[in-house]
Amino acid sequence: MQSLVFADVWAQVDTLLSGLVQTVWISAVAIVLGVFIGIACAVARSADSRVLRAASTFYVESMRNTPFIVQLFIVFFGLPSMGVQITAVQAGLIALTLNLGAYSTEIIRAGIEATHRSQIEAGMALGLTRRDILLHVVLLPALEKVWPALSSQFVLTMLASSILSQISVEELTSAGALIDSRTYRSMEVYILLAGFYLALTMVFRLAFDLAGRVLFPRRRAVGARR
């Protein structure tokens, strides 16, 4: 058994930090866009139009039942083969966003379905428009209810972004691989990477918890939140 020597790896921590920044912003963009897709598809899935429902079901099920890495390869290798030129970062963002979009659709839909009919009827009785009912009675309380589940999914998305190293996006994992190839200290590099991701997970959880408090200040008595 060899011994762990972190000095060489630690000397190149700058590379890791720039990878970390890349991971954070890619994840952040994918999370914001993914949630909007999730909201749109969740509403589409409970829509009256059969075409909308079918399209959204097809999207969600095809995304949820295939691995992320294959989705990434289809976007990264497949689009250019059809003449659409995209960079690795763009391909990664598209794949991450579409993937999260499908999972958040399911989560948000669960929240929407948990809305009691009487709530909607109460909204109608108060003379709210359809749009207002959808936004204030159905959607916002639904998002509030499923926020913890959404947060976990966001963290999983951040962790999945490590796969982007496979299409040469210079994020945290590929920064680690670069240092590994320079120093041959694989074990040390990956222990350090695990530590970085762990820290990032904790920061993300904290940030989403805070975001939840800011976004949903009313703190309903009923609902998932304790």
Binding site: N65, F68, F73, I74, M82, A160, S186, Y197, L198
Partner: protein, 218 residues
């Protein structure tokens, strides 16, 4: 000479899909065995044991599967052990699955009503007997739907093993893409094969879930 993607190429992918199934099975069995131990440790009354299990779950769940696999892949040789990629991949996937299964099962164990635990204790069952004869059988019923659902995640995440060089379905797809240059057909077929493996599990999980909650439907 560039090959085009035809039936022979599809058969190559199909054969590689066997290894995805083998790896998934290894991960599920290994992860299940380790997971039940971690889950039981997680509900232990001993603070130290409970904290170790919680730490294990948090560390694995907070690290990408890819990094867990890399740690095992480079870690085994680090300790002077040499294994073929299948063993390294299976070990990595076992570790990954154990954390998630443990967390799922902990929830199921804790969902067994408190009164059941108390009733078992008042019948003078020892803690081990209480767990084996009273709590676990009831927790098992709750655990089936989410466990089947998690099997989908296992099958999908075995694709990450392609990165450490284990030739399963995704790796076979990459190899095939390199000789045919028809990424849409190749990875489309790969995605289809994964879908065929995962979709039945997803549907089964949903059905089981609905059956479990049949009495509670409004």
């Amino acid at each position: 000479m560039i090959r085009s993607f035809g039936p022979a190429e599809f058969t190559f992918l199909l054969e590689a899909a066997r290894w995805t199934l083998v790896l998934s099975l290894c991960a599920f069995v290994g992860g299940g065995l380790l997971g039940i131990v971690v889950a039981l440790m997680r509900v232990s009354r001993n603070l130290v044991i409970r904290s170790i299990a919680a730490g294990w779950i948090n560390v694995i769940q907070g690290t990408p599967v890819l990094i867990v696999l890399f740690l095992v892949f480079y870690g085994l040789p680090f300790f002077g052990l040499r294994f073929p990629p299948l063993i390294a991949a299976a070990a990595g996937m076992t570790i990954y699955a154990s954390a998630f299964l443990a967390e799922i099962w902990r929830g199921c164990i804790e969902a067994v009503p408190r009164q059941q635990w108390e009733a078992a204790s008042s019948l003078a069952l020892k803690p081990a007997q209480r767990m084996i004869y009273v709590v676990l059988p009831q927790a098992f019923r709750l655990a089936v739907p989410p466990t089947v659902g998690f099997m989908v995640q296992i099958v999908k995440n075995t694709s990450v093993a392609s990165i450490i060089g284990f030739v399963e379905l995704t790796r076979a797809g990459t190899l095939m893409n390199n000789v045919t240059f028809q990424p849409f057909w190749v990875f489309g077929s790969v995605a289809l094969l994964y879908f065929v493996m995962c979709w039945p599990l997803s549907v089964m999980s949903q059905r089981l879930e609905r059956r479990l909650h049949a009495g509670r439907r409004s």
